[in-house]
């Protein structure tokens, strides 16, 4: 059997959702959607994107890490067929290769409830993120932080044309979210989805941070806020036709609490006040694309700042009620 294949690549790690997806199917023909140096995207007939990445990349939802060094060539061409026949392996007829996931470790693309108390991000943590973003100047929309945090009154202080163009819309979105006006937030989000440089446009990375953070705040606080959950799903619905398929997949996963390993680690470190872990997670997140990591962190900084304000407001209300 093994002799039929020129090459066999082993899968080291596989996300739980991809594992479940394949488990429910006996016969799927994926198409190679896009090929990058570090990863390959496969598209299923029902438009699910699966990502195969090398060991130097993070594992993602609907993803797997294969034992392939950065210098070895991918056994794919664009539009190649990739067959899954229920045997815990992908078969690549064009290159007479296979990718076996029989012994892969399974990774959950969701965060567990932190064991300790879940708190708002501290000022020190927010400052660490801000300092990183100011030093980085990534080329996406993250430089809007200068304007938002009062370091500058001029959108022109943003370092690139994308950031300058979108500053006003980001501010309007932040106001709507802070006011918990989800209908307004949705119409403001519409002005952001799909905007910016990159394969996952900058504003989508920014929104992914919002969606993930709001999802977990709702889950961990047992809030079950239907209006909020509807907002998250509606943003994803809007994204279906307004952004790239890669970006849409990312937002869809985020609305279910799923994200790449490093993105989740950032949220976990913030929730558990673990500064060394946050530092490491920031480093890793910044390896995403040219601007994606920084734009995601920018979103994290904005939404965590809003959480802090909400917490202060709630504290004031409690104190007021105590007095009454």
């Amino acid at each position: 059997m093994a002799g039929r294949f020129e090459r066999t690549i082993s899968v080291l790690q596989m996300s739980q959702d991809l594992y479940d997806f394949l488990l429910q199917r006996d016969d799927v023909v994926f198409r190679v959607h896009s090929i990058f140096r570090g990863a390959v995207n496969l598209l299923s007939p029902d438009k699910e994107l699966a990502t195969i990445a090398r060991t130097d990349l993070d594992i993602m939802p609907m993803g797997m890490i294969v034992d392939l060094s950065s210098h070895a060539a991918w056994p794919f061409e664009n539009d190649d067929s990739v067959l899954y026949g229920g045997q815990m392996e992908f078969v690549l007829p064009n290159s007479e290769s296979r990718i076996r996931f029989r012994n892969a470790r399974v990774w959950s693309p969701e965060l567990a409830v932190p064991s300790g108390e879940v708190t708002c991000a501290s000022k020190e943590m927010l400052d660490l993120i801000k300092k990183t973003l100011l030093e980085l100047d990534s080329g996406g929309v993250a430089s809007v932080i200068r304007f938002i945090d009062g370091d500058s009154n001029e959108p022109s202080s943003c370092t690139n044309i994308y950031a300058r163009f979108i500053t006003g819309d980001i501010c309007s979105f932040l106001e709507a979210v802070e006011g918990k006006n989800w209908d307004l937030s949705l119409s403001r989000a519409e002005l952001l989805i799909g905007f910016g440089p990159g394969l996952t446009p900058s504003c989508d990375d920014f929104l992914a941070a919002f969606i993930l953070s709001l999802y977990y705040r709702n889950l961990w606080n047992h809030s079950d806020d239907h209006a909020l959950l509807n907002f998250l799903h509606d943003v994803v619905d809007l994204a279906r036709s307004r952004t790239t398929i890669v970006s849409y997949s990312m937002l869809k996963h985020a609305s279910r609490g799923k994200a790449s390993c490093s993105y989740l680690k950032v949220l976990d470190a913030l929730a558990t006040q673990n500064i060394p872990e946050l530092h490491r997670a920031i480093e890793r997140v910044l390896e995403f694309g040219a601007t994606s990591g920084a734009d995601f962190l920018f979103g994290v900084w904005c939404i965590q700042t809003i959480f802090s304000r909400w917490a202060r407001q709630e504290e004031c209300i409690v104190k007021k009620e105590d007095r009454i």
Partner: protein, 517 residues
Amino acid sequence: MIQSIVRKNAYYDSVTLMLISREMKSIEGVEEVLVGMGTDLNLDLVRNLNMFDANLESITPNDLFIAAKFNEEFVTMEQLVESFEEQINRKKDASAGDYRPPTLRSAIDHLEGANLVQISIPGQYAAEEAETALRAGLHVMMFSDNVSINDELRLKKMAVEKGLLMMGPDCGTAIINGVPLCFANVVSRGKIGLVGASGTGTQEITVRIDQLGEGLSQVIGTGGRDLREEIGGLMMIQGIEALLNDPETEVIVLVSKPPHPTVEKKIIDLVKQADKPVVIDFIGGDAASIVDAGATPCLSLEDAARKAVALLRGEKVVDFDGFDASEEEIEKLVSGSAAKLSAGQKYLRALYTGGTLADEAIKYLGDHYPIYSNIPLTPDRALANLEGLNGHICLDLGEDEFTRGRPHPMIDPLTRADFFKTHVNSSTAVVLCDVVIGYGAHENPAGAVAASVSEARERLKAEGKDLVVVASVTGTDKDPQGLDQSIASLEQAGVIVMPSNAQAVRLVDLIMEKVSA
């Protein structure tokens, strides 16, 4: 001219797109270029910039577009597309120049062929970065300090297993394949290889070798703790083996403070097997075991340089504990200096920025006078035991206690300037200084010392007194600050500039002897 092209279902990674976008913007005649995915909002931006054209009418979010505004007299859309294609095809090469990777992993990824990582970040994060580099098969030079000894041991073991160098933590200097790293001087390339556990000691030897007309093959730093029992000299041994195997190296120099006896034994055992001459300066250490190993012991850092050069040239190896200047000239300097001083001026102030240079001074002078220091020879000579300023003082201003919250004094001369103000007074007879130039150092350390000397002189003048200042410059004429310019600015301020730290220390010793008499 405004024009665009669309690539259906074309996906390129973000880094590539960003680099290409920047590259295309730099082409002559191009006013603006947008390269992005065809989402509605990106097209809004294109419209806003008046760059929308008919090609973009039917684009979808999964298509790539290039929209350009350009002056046709200089460039055409075909040329821009050609440039785009060319860069897509050589995207890896293109990425190295313009892209600033945000992390070490992405830097390694984008700079193919790189084989050394220099780490200078807060100590608590440095070990993890070093491990990343070593795992990727790269040598490490770690300038960072405050790395735990356990981490140091773990990283050095990993380096040895992989046949790599793990220079540091707290490694201040190295010259690898002629490239100066961190604090290092521009010296000629040559046939003498050096492994050093002491930063300015290494610099002092390399510049003297250069001044004597020879050069360095490799200068490998180990970090100050390498020769402690816990680390076991792993990098000193790795460095010696590297130089023994290096065909460009004909003579090897080792410099460090005295190692732990168990570590010293390992080094001596290795040196016994060496098929190349080895010069060893375990500053102030025992010479007997060095001689037993068939190696050459030294009296000073300068002596180490001279002996290495003599061995390389096949000349007779002799101890050097004198001066370049004649006896008469030295006598004249000593008498002239003593004559400048008034009654009550009797104390030495040695204000060093280089730790090993301070160590060399204190070990020589400490035999003759009680010297109080933050790096004392014996605990009773600790600075805290000095009453007021009534005694001889030698300070290593680069030690942690003086650098908290401020840069190292080799970078920022303010620390020493402050000590000139507080520690040089009417009871001071002689000030002894080092001036370390080269890469990493302040842009004009000699000028800063000259200014401090002038200020001190002016202050003492009001009391009818003068001051003797002796210095040496660790540097070469090829360093950015220039050796000659540095010496000139010191001499202009009335500083006696000696050719090496050892000679400066010996001169100070003679002057102090005269003053005491």
